[in-house]
């Protein structure tokens, strides 16, 4: 086992953090470019890896994220057409009737000429968001956030538990609401309309509350929170350190991604934040008497997946920093985008895990058996909600 886990040919689920790091790297790349060809390449890479390494029978929110991305593009373009925006352009596609606004609202315009440059700029911006969304969707599909939450550091254990409980409760609340609404018919009401909604809210919230009390009792009697923190002061210190560290990391990442503030601020913040967060986590982990059941191993394939994602992000980042032509496509005057080869190669690096990462276990059994199992679960799921 100890050696086998380093071999990508052993079917197993990859550590969820590896997939998330990979996706964040890819999203970082998407965030720094407006080149539609490069963005399309990123989405294709994400989709291909999802298709190759998704566990059979697991939930797949990837499609939903893609649709959300399309919606983002559409909304961006529609608003651009309606509101005009600030992009000056010479190529007028068509002209909408303009609604005069009071003189105070300078810069805002309703209707008027629609320029090719404006529409293109909006579409590229939308596409950038769509590509980032696709990366997040890929991470969600390859490793469910619930699995990731198991690795919340010990100092943030309570927060992690609350999140897990919330993730479990949301679907149950929907189930409850449906059952109560159906039962409402038995009292001679349709269960629709505002008044009905108000009446239904009470029993639904009631049962949710009762459920949480039950859950709390169950957690308590199974030893939850047993001497995790022996004194309140050490807990406060650890939490403060962790939060400060994480904020540092977030600010640093933001600085790197955004690129508009002094770029030097990003990196040092990120480093300081990472150090603080790691230190606090190490301190917290030492205090934590809890143990973890079957933790996912972190071995060579995890490093490889993480490396590929981060490399893609870093290469695009460097290209953007150096001002490699084609990272930002000119929209005014509009020109045909070209695919810059250096960043494109970087993005293609993120495709490597589609072959060099372990296959998930059900998928490894073979499409037929694995799918059967998955289907079985799905069917039972339908039955259980009844």
């Amino acid at each position: 086992m100890t050696l086998a886990i380093h071999d990508y040919r052993l079917p197993r689920l990859l550590h969820p953090a590896a997939w998330w790091a990979w996706a964040i790297g890819l999203a970082m790349a998407a965030n720094r470019t407006t080149n539609p060809l490069l963005l399309a390449l990123i989405v294709v890479v994400a989709a291909y890896v999802v298709a190759a390494r998704r566990e059979l029978g697991a939930a797949s929110p990837f499609g939903a994220f893609l649709r959300l991305g399309l919606l983002a593009i559409t909304l961006r373009v529609v608003f651009q057409v309606l509101l005009g925006g600030g992009t000056p352009g010479r190529t007028v596609l068509f002209t909408l009737p303009e609604i005069p606004l009071p003189s105070g609202s300078s810069g805002v315009r309703l209707g008027g000429p629609v320029t090719l440059e404006g529409v293109l700029a909006a579409a590229y911006e939308g596409a950038r968001l769509a590509a980032v969304l696709a990366c997040i969707g890929a991470a969600n599909t390859l490793a469910s956030p619930r699995r990731l939450l198991r690795y919340v550091p010990a100092t943030l254990y309570e927060v992690g538990t609350a999140l897990v409980v919330a993730l479990t409760y949301a679907p149950q609340l929907v189930d409850d609401a449906r059952r109560v609404r159906v039962a409402r018919r038995l009292r001679g009401h349709g269960g629709r309309g505002i008044r009905e909604l108000a009446r239904l809210a009470v029993p639904v919230l009631d049962s949710a509350l009762e459920r949480s009390l039950n859950l709390a009792a169950s957690m308590e009697s199974r030893g939850y929170g047993r001497s995790v923190h022996r004194d309140a002061r050490s807990r406060r210190q650890a939490t403060a350190l962790t939060l400060a560290g994480l904020s540092g990391v977030i600010a640093g990442v933001y600085g790197l991604l955004d690129g508009s503030p002094a770029p030097l601020l990003g990196l040092p913040l990120l480093i300081v934040g990472s150090v603080a967060a790691t230190a606090s986590l190490a301190v917290g982990a030492r205090r934590d008497p809890r143990s973890r059941y079957r933790p996912d191993p972190w071995a060579t394939p995890e490093w490889l997946v993480l490396g590929c994602g981060v490399a893609a992000g870093v290469l695009v980042l460097i290209a953007a920093q150096r001002g490699v032509p084609g990272i930002v496509v000119q929209t005014s005057p509009a020109e045909w985008p070209i695919l810059p080869w250096f960043p494109a190669l970087g993005v293609l690096l993120a495709l490597v895990p589609a072959w060099l990462s372990p296959v998930p276990p059900l998928r490894a059994i073979g499409p037929f058996d694995g799918l059967q199992d998955g289907l079985q679960d799905g069917l039972q799921d339908v039955g259980a909600t009844s």
Binding site: L186, A217, D377
Partner: protein
Amino acid sequence: MIRFEDVGVRFDDRREPVLRGVDLRVDEGEMVLVVGSTGSGKSTLLRCVNGLVPHFSGGTLSGRITVDGRDTRTHRPRDLADIVGVVGQDPAAAFVTDTVEEELAYGMESLGVTGDVMRRRVEETLDLLGLADVRQRTLRTLSGGQQQRVAIGGVLAAHPRILVLDEPTSALDPVAAEEVLAALTRLVHDLGLTVLLAEHRLERVVQYADRVVVVQNGRVRADLPAAAMATSPVSPPVVDLGRLAGWSPLPLSVRDARRAAGPIRLQLAGRSVVRAVKPVTTSGLDKALLSARALVVNRGRRAVLRGIDLEVNPGEVVALMGRNGSGKSTLLAAACGQLPARLGSVRTGGLDPASLKPRQLVRHVGLVPQDPGLLLYGETVSGECRAADTDMHAAPGTTRAILAHLAPDVEDDTHPRDLSEGQRLALALAVVLAGKPPLVLLDEPTRGLDYGAKTRLVASLRLLAAEQHGVLVATHDVELVAELADRVVVIADGEVVTDGPTDAVLAGSPAFAPQVAKVMHPQPWLTVADVAAALVQPPPLAV
């Protein structure tokens, strides 16, 4: 192992203390059964053991409880988690994680058991409770019996020395219940666990118990099973039969009773069957209140009902049986228009229930769902009754009058949530009956009911049948069916397997036979009341 010394429990919003003067000692390796009527304080007694009362529930505890030498006053439930494991009534409500393996490991993670020990214990627990096949499944997709076994496994894997179970089989069909109880008895014998168990359906467990604790009016009495049963306010049918026939010692299992029943079987041989429940003769012509023809109903893409033919006539009580997930609830849902027929047809009073407007629907059919609370929205019982009168277009006071008849002791200003299971069921039934629907459907009505509440339910449903209502009851409870139903329909996998008179169906199979039928076999009596009726008959003339 567990010691209660002069323990009293009082909750602030109640006038009477829930428990008082409790002195109890449970030794290592004992299996103790806690019995009592609904609301007698059984659950409170059980929750005292690991300190959930009063640490979690509030209220005042007097006296002293020590568990393995630890006082529950100074030890919170989490500090007792390594010695006491608690399994509640509704396993699904207690799940913290969402897959089987993680749920089994959860308790051990909190206790800080090291990784390899944890891995080994999870594997052992999977084998012990027969869960290895479903180890990676999501908990929501498991059947009721599997869920209950996971809940037991979750506390068991942490190796507590005491196991406390509050009605572990109330939601299960007879076979699944057997499964869980068999697993439990094996644990007691193999591992020497101390088990404290509360259960309404005594017929399932009383023969396994070393001692029985009877909780009555907040007081507690511990005794050997046979002695406790002689005076207990609740008792299973074999014990009732033993009392009727004057057997001593009282039999606790079908085996004991069967050995004592030789003379009575001989005495009753040849007497005609006068069932306490008289089947009604129905015309069987176009008057069926419910008729399903080749009915196919889907849930999602799966056909749950696969061609059901069923009729319920006026004045008839029909029991619908079958294992968990066989389609009973789906059939009831289709009968009241909650799910549309995909193929075939379902008609209530000649109309398609799915096409009826809600306000018309309540005039034709009423359903009391598995969780009666789903029908209740009010803040108080009286408010609920008034709302029901308006909803069902009944004269003011109708619902309250029906409720007074079904459950005389319900107070007006109680919140429906604070009623006992039996009272809540009565309230939901009263709400449904206010609309005077000719067809009444009940889904698993005896969940959590004690014998007294069950007897009252049977009486009121028989009365409905006498008034030419049709009643369809989906249930796992064979004893209820024996006392209540004229006809039994067994479904499996969405198809009707058997449809026939109660005595023929129940006596015909060991899985469905009520205790009295097993004792009296090959004589045809099903209930204690049947035997009592036969006993007073004159013996048949010798030919």
